[in-house]
Symmetry: C2
Subunit: 318 residues, 2 copies
């Protein structure tokens, strides 16, 4: 919150008309939308080859196109080398030329703020986050920790990762609170479920993408579908879906979606997240009694069309 108030104050004091955002993760995308809406000309720089590196490139490409349609100057595959001030303006020097802006935002990731805990003797783990068990206990007696400062148990990987998300922080905080008061709660774990709205599109994902599933010892196959919904219905828009599941068992490992804001993409990802929590296979998804009404979906929901496409693609073995 403090950072955001400082940004707003700076925008007003400098009467900023141009902004450069370094980092095209979800914060970078949200800031690109917010500053564009405020009337600034925005350049978005990302060192990787796509925006939103937490989703597959096939979904990131139309998302980048959408940003460009809203006049955001998207430059991925671009490494920042230096930022210099010359009078009021700032210059961002990259390996692919210079960019000038009235304000520069660096949004390249989250670092756990653990100085207080470390000074008190708390053990740090992955990415220097506070090491906690699934009861959110630190190594210090009677000291619990939760949120962006701790590592997070991942339900599918069965190990801790660094995955700072607001929804996770709330769940961990409740577990820490219950246990601090003498209760016995266990953090069930994260699936890394995320969603972000960028102008008129929403992208969301849950579980493991192909490479992460492979690293974890699965034999993943990822299959893409575009569901055109009820194409005859006025206002229907396509949803792009990518389903990742284990080749031999058909166990559902992850899903990603991209669709328009009204297409209920984020909450369709929750159907996948819920099913994954229960160890569902792609075949199990076809049996779910999901809601249907022509303005909002089809008799086989987009979620089911995607898992059925996976089954047809991978073959009867799953």
């Amino acid at each position: 919150m403090g950072d955001m108030f400082a940004v707003v104050q700076s925008l007003e004091e400098r009467q900023a008309r141009t902004a450069i955002i370094v980092g095209a993760g979800y914060i970078g995308l949200e800031m690109a939308e917010a500053l564009t809406t405020r009337g600034l000309a925005v350049t978005l720089l990302e060192q990787l080859d796509q925006v939103m590196p937490t989703i597959d490139a096939d979904l990131a490409a139309p998302l980048a196109d959408h940003l460009r349609e809203h006049d955001v100057n998207v430059q991925h595959g671009t490494k920042v080398r230096a930022i210099t001030a010359n009078g009021g303006a700032l210059t961002v020097d990259t390996d692919r030329g210079n960019h000038h802006g009235d304000i520069v935002l660096i949004v390249t990731g989250v670092r756990p703020d653990t100085e207080l805990a470390a000074t008190a003797g708390a053990e740090l783990g992955l990415r220097a986050a506070i090491a906690v068990d699934r009861h959110m206990r630190t190594n210090l007696p009677d000291v619990y920790a939760a949120g962006d400062c701790v590592h997070t148990y991942h339900r599918l990987l069965d190990r801790h990762v660094y995955l700072p998300l607001g929804s996770t922080a709330h769940k961990q905080g409740r577990v820490a609170g219950v246990n601090a008061l003498g209760g016995n709660a266990t953090f069930a774990g994260s699936l890394g479920t995320q969603a972000v709205k960028v102008f008129d599109l929403v992208t969301a994902g849950t579980g493991l993408r192909d490479h992460a599933a492979r690293d974890a010892g699965y034999d993943p196959v990822t299959v893409a579908t575009t569901d055109d919904h009820k194409a005859y219905y006025p206002g229907a828009t396509p949803i792009r879906i990518r389903v990742t599941a284990d080749r031999s068992t058909g166990r559902l490992l992850g899903a990603q979606m991209l669709g328009s804001r009204g297409a209920e993409v984020a909450k369709r990802i929750d159907t996948f997240a819920t099913a994954i929590s229960y160890g569902a296979t792609v075949a199990d998804i076809a049996d779910l009694d999901l809601s249907y009404t022509p303005p909002l979906g089809s008799p086989w929901d987009a979620v089911q069309i995607a898992t059925d496409t996976w089954r047809r693609t991978v073959g009867a073995s799953a």
Copy 2:
């Protein structure tokens, strides 16, 4: 489809300006919206004390208000006694006065069309629908049946009911097709999941409502929540939620929602439908890693806020 083309033809030939709809189930509500959008003055008559009798009265009341805001003359608790033609106009005589219209639609339910099957010797069951097993087999050798003409296995009730829905028909049709070709598929069952859009609102539900759960031998408690989402976010709208679960076990039995079209109500019901399929308790819902982004929800999703409210209301025993 044929009925709908006939309605459109009749509207055009008669240059209809007023319509009376008898029956305020989902077809009646959809027709009220469609005819209003077409410019007709619509009166909606329902003999029961609420519109949309498949949802609880607490959700039906704001839905009726919404119809009235869109100039639909909603009259529930009104029994139709006769319909008479006098020249071009039609008069609907009810126990609470007469209504005049250029066209009258009767949308008071679905009757299975089973004459062909019955003549061939197919056994009929509940509501004179074709009796089938969970393989969609009739009593006739090599004859399978699926869709609105058959009774439907209900997953929570563990018995057949008459519940004709498009999503169910598709699933049953696939099972019948697989088995007719020599495969071995079983219909997993319906939860009665439904959704309907009415102007700018969507209502959706899944599973058992209080009275149905009680009839089935559960000890249900239904708790209402209104989730105000991120009230600070522009365009956020409240979602009304009713959760039904078993008092002693906390087993989730059903859920109903009402919210604006953009509030992803239908696909939030799918989270409940998926969880119910796996036998989830209300406590289990808090552990789900559901998607969060401020434009679309809160760190504890509306689904979780509703189940947590149920737990706080019913007490620690669940």
